[in-house]
Amino acid sequence: MNKAPIKYKKFLVENVLFSQNHEFDNITINTLDRILDKKAEVPIVFACVSTNSIAGGIEGTIRFIEEYIQKNNSRLQLKIKGSLGWLDIEPLVYVQLPGKNRIVFKNANEENIQIILDSILNSVVPTEFTLGQFKLGDNEHWENVPFMDELDFFNAQKRIVYKNIGLINPECIDEYIATGGYVSLAKAVSRYTPEELCRFVEKSELRGRGGGGYSTGKKWLSTFNEISNQKFVICNADESDPGAFMDRMLIENDPHKLLEGIAIAAYAVGATKAYIYIRNKYKLSIERLEKAIDHAHEYGLLGHNILDSGFNLDIQIRKGAGAYVCGEESALIKSLEGKRAMPQSKPPYPSKHGLHGKPTLINNAETLANIPVIIEKGTDWFKDLGVAEARGTKTFSAVGSCQNLGAFEVELGTKLKDIVYHLLGGIKNDKQFKAIHLGGPSGGIVSKENLDTPIEYSSLREIGTDIGSGGMVILDENKCVIDFIKYYANFLQNESCGKCIPCREGSRKIYDIFYHITRKPMSVSKTITLERFKGVIELEGLAQVMKDTSLCGLGQTAAMPVLSSLRWFRDEYEEHIFDRYCKAGECKDLRTFIIDVEKCTGCTICAKKCPEGAIIGTQRNPYFIVENKCNGCGICYQVCKFGAISLK
């Protein structure tokens, strides 16, 4: 299954990639449809394999299907697809019966797959597992099954970068080419000069998707204009923002799109060597990228004399060793050179003095994946998407308290409200929406009043947050904003590289302040109380100094979560500081526990375990917690076998 499929190589290269106007005759179209399994001759079941679905148990499902085929001597075929991006319903399988539309089943783990297969192979739709159906050519529709593009999660999306995810097999280059892949590369190397390409991208007004939002075309042009015997392209896929996974989604499920983007970029700036700097934790992504690079070499789409154009490119994968600061381009270059990843002051920009001192183009993975479609459909088409100053689409990943978790792609300018309540299906367990955090540790958190804001660079900056790389976290009413910001403060003080003082000391100081406002006074010493208040008063000033004086983006934006939360959730800060009370009960050191006298049997286990000796009572009678002594560690809550201890 994993071998490079060369069955269609000659056909695809000659008839598709080398075709003059890319208008195909019926025979070609039929073959392309056959590659994409649009018309099934035998029943086919597709399993969606991704990191997330493996965690959900897709491997067991695949094993079961293989056994099922053997046992029943069935004509059923098993094929692999990528993930659709909607994570909490995984593992997914699609089933396609001859002449019928492809139908999607959710939660298809080892236990449920038998029911699904047994009923669908007898043309009965098992409704409890059915998600929807794909419209495929002139196949017959299933009755009473919604179309996939009518589901809330999908109909609010505009998929350009994610066009293929879940629909093709990420390990099969044929399927990618059959969907129109690598045609843009063929077009670029045969019809455009490098400079024309740079101007073309500049005209499309595409902006970098990694967080900075700098014009991609300008970056390309300045790298192109440098004269050097060697230039490099680096694709930044080191997604170390915790809880963000939109680039992983792309690379894992459509690696060829990224390769195509890199190849076009390298041709445009005149580079012959490219690196993909990817997180070492992304094992499946790396595996699939390696495979994709091998297959592309085999098809003559990478390597020497690409598509007879005389252009050479070698792409290598470098695994990041885990440092958040590598998102900053000069630090990333240091890491690729085998040094400690510390940012440098700019200028000189990497376009002048980059990897090994040579001109280097660094783009985020998503930015590069936008390139093929811009070349395919033109700048005018791209400029119609989004709003002024922010063209095109952006991928996001959502985690937290929303109903639908996953990665999705929307047009820039979409309102936050539509995303939260429509696409993500609102808040789960009938709770109320409280806050949304955008952009990871260098983004900001905003409250309910701001949900009318469109997602676009300038209006988000106005309310104190940022698109950043695209990580989205949704908090419900039972989550504590202070605790959440403390998590990022801790993350940043760990990840600060230590080169410049404002960031190194400032991030540490911010965490200290948060630490102090989220715990009860442990000693009666007055200086500690004084320090605590001093810290709180200076918090805003400190955040401002960091913003103004830090060397790189990490330090400059490190205070964003703090400033934005102070702006929108000031009352919550006040509650923590003055009343020493956390309404949500999330700040562990501010908690107080109480014992339910009805349930307590007096077994003494909590009293024995309490490190502060705060639990008193007599054996076989209900115990009590002395509030002033309790430090909120929660050990009693964990050891109680009768569930008698709860949060006050």
Binding site: T51, A244, Y282, A341, L405, V639
Partner: protein
Amino acid sequence: MAQLEEITQILSFYSKGDISSLIQVLQDIQETNGYLSEESILEVSNYYKIPSSRVYGIATYYNQFRFKPKAKFHFEICNGTGCYLENSELIGQYIETKISEYAKGRDLSKLVSIEKVPCMGTCAFSPVLLLNDELHIHLTKHKIDEIFENLDLKVQDE
């Protein structure tokens, strides 16, 4: 000694003059040995003819590298945003309490180790835990109790 041979073999893939492959070398060594031992760092610095302090400085800078072997039961608790919001911290705390319950004052550091790791990318199933490369999802206190029942911590007494 077997370790040294492996290291020499890894190093033979990389050119002596090209220092930019240093991180890749360290990653490869960690992949085969599970950690970076003192000897391996000395060996690498010898190979590239750079001070061992520099190799060590680079290795300690990155989160990925560890300098002690993993214990027999290695708990990796995901500390990504998704898991944090689903109380992965409490889960970590609970595992620690469980371990100290089993330890009864003994030193179990060779047997059990806990590590907080950055996001593993399985946010839909949070909180998650990787125990010796086996993934446990949707953790609850009850599930951790079950995991501990299946660990043979007691046999390893002496």
